[in-house]
């Protein structure tokens, strides 16, 4: 009975998030348009091998879309007073957060699949390991959707504050994770930073799956992304419990 109610609360929360929040402008601007413009700014006018950089672009697109709505849901809910009400329904903080994460996964999957299909069609990108591509899609979305909810966990009821925090965390990550500079070209302290970033393992995993040189064994990459997902989820719950009254 309890498991059924808990499972239901997860899926109803996911459905609610998709229905209400994915139509909002900030989600599309910060989740889709911004990474696209970043990529164009990097590539236009430069003689770069698009096929070599495509896995990085795909990873960046997945990273931004999966983590775009998570930071905003809880501040929006707190601002509207719906957060308090949600907690009085048969839900728990954990099931609510899992529901939010799954909504991020759904958004990230749809958008990054569109990017992958367009890339495959126009850039003639071949798939070297379809199974690993699928797995990296799944764990990558899970990891960065969890990061999105973590970014919202310490916030109150002002979405713009969360957006600032979100930008502060997400933008540096794309510059240290092998998106614009191949992982093999990063040395010294930069390499330590790169290997501390979860995005690095997704970029490298996509490199492996799409036949570009990769540096980390795929199984290690998957394990790291799963561990980061669990860490982000755990931290989200701890911070949400601590900040529960903030903005209520």
């Amino acid at each position: 009975m309890r498991a059924r109610i808990a499972l239901r609360s997860v899926f109803v929360t996911t459905r609610k998030d998709i229905k209400i929040y994915y139509k909002k402008a900030p989600v599309w601007i910060f989740g889709l348009l911004l990474p696209l413009f970043l990529f164009l700014a990097f590539f236009i006018g430069r003689d770069l091998d698009t096929r070599q950089y495509f896995p990085g672009f795909l990873a960046m697109s997945l990273f931004f879309t999966a983590s775009s709505v998570g930071p905003l849901i809880i501040p929006w809910e707190k601002q509207a007073g719906t957060f308090e009400r949600l907690l009085s329904y048969p839900v728990s903080l954990s099931t609510m957060v899992i529901g939010d994460i799954l909504a991020g996964v759904a958004f990230g999957t749809v958008i990054s699949l569109i990017v992958a299909v367009i890339g495959a069609a126009f850039l003639a990108i071949g798939v070297a390991d379809a199974m690993m591509l699928f797995v990296f899609f799944a764990v990558g979305n899970l990891c960065f959707a969890a990061l999105g909810t973590l970014l919202s966990a310490s916030s109150g009821r002002v979405p713009s504050n969360t957006m600032m925090l979100s930008a502060l965390v997400r933008f540096p990550l794309i510059f240290i994770s092998g998106v614009f500079v191949p992982l093999g070209s990063i040395h010294g302290a930069g390499a330590y930073l790169a290997y501390a970033s979860p995005l690095t393992y997704l970029v490298d995993g996509f490199d492996h799956s799409l036949g570009v040189d990769s540096f980390v064994p795929a199984s290690i990459g998957i394990l790291v992304l799963v561990l980061y997902s669990l860490l982000f989820f755990g931290l989200t719950i701890v911070l949400l419990r601590r900040n529960l009254m903030k903005g209520l």
Partner: protein
């Protein structure tokens, strides 16, 4: 049907004890009021009892189920209207009710039928598909109450449900809640509107500084303060209150065109008023002896430094 039990509830925020050893029980089909000044701990108590916050100590049972040990099952049995906003203004009334119905596991037919019945009762059926951002505050609050009732809970918590609403919305909400109560729902209401509490509640609990300071029926609370009687009088023309100062050793208050003379001996006060009337050639328009209102009792119990 729903019983509610709180035993030894404690909730601290840092050094502040917001709820301090609060215990009470609400019987099946009882209408129970939680009164107190701002910051007294009412909303925190409701948040504890609806599973929004976890207490630092104490137990809560909702319809016989331990809320802390089995929160999912306990929450299935309660409906709550929190203090603010709390519905999705991007969605329509039907969509809000559908969403809440899904959380409680109602079938599609149940969601549709109950939404229709509730929105008709709340005079919102014609506007059912409009997004709530186009609704007035009163209409939104009606939807909020409907959301708390869609699963027909045996226990209902209402935190200031009629605060700042127009008369029509207030009446519609109060009528619906009374109807649910008659059908068997136990209700806990927090309100600043003491008149409303006095009319609706079988028992009220007055809370201040996080502690319960009185718990009884409104009538019994008034009777406990029966010694605080007053005589209300109005004359055919305006007079200075100093003319009445000899009539009572207690305070004199001006209430519109009436004077309210607080007294322990109404008979003697009335005699003195008659003397003033004769001496100054006045006519009495109305005169009556009144006991303390629930508001008087509330003020008496909660006055002092906060």
């Amino acid at each position: 049907m729903g019983e509610i039990e709180a035993v030894g509830l404690v909730k601290r925020f840092g050094d502040i004890t917001a709820v301090d050893d609060v215990s009470f029980s609400v019987g099946e089909t009882e209408f129970f009021g939680l009164l107190g000044p701002n910051g007294a701990g009412k909303t925190t108590t409701i948040r504890l009892m609806t599973g929004i916050l976890k207490p630092d100590a104490g137990d809560i049972r909702i319809d016989g189920i331990d809320l802390l040990a089995d929160p999912f099952d306990a929450k299935m049995r309660l409906g709550a209207v929190p203090e603010v906003g709390n519905i999705y203004t991007d969605l329509s009334a039907m969509e809000n009710l559908d969403l809440v119905g899904r959380y409680y596991g109602l079938s599609k037919d149940e969601r549709r039928q109950r939404s229709k019945a509730l929105l008709e009762t709340l005079s919102l059926w014609d506007r059912r598909n409009d997004p709530l951002r186009k609704y007035s505050k009163g209409m939104r609050q009606r939807v909020s109450v409907a959301c708390a009732l869609i699963h027909e809970p045996p226990v209902l918590f209402l935190d200031e449900p009629t605060e700042g609403l127009d008369v029509q919305s207030r009446r519609i909400i109060v009528d619906l809640v009374k109807q649910m109560n008659r059908k068997g729902t136990s209700v806990i209401l927090t309100t600043h509107n003491i008149d409303e509490a006095s009319r609706l509640c079988e028992r009220v609990c007055i809370i201040n500084h996080g502690k319960i300071i009185a718990i009884s029926s409104p009538e019994q609370l008034r009777m406990a303060y029966e010694k605080n009687l007053a005589v209300e009088v109005s004359f055919n023309k305006k007079i200075d209150r100093c003319l009445l100062e000899e009539c009572t050793p207690g305070e004199i208050e001006e209430w519109g065109d009436k004077f309210r003379l607080l007294t322990a001996d109404p008979d003697k006060t009335i005699q003195k008023i008659m003397e003033v009337r004769k001496e100054h050639d006045l006519k009495i328009v109305s005169i009556q002896t009144v006991g303390p209102s629930l508001e008087d009792v509330f003020v008496k119990l909660t006055e002092g430094p906060r």
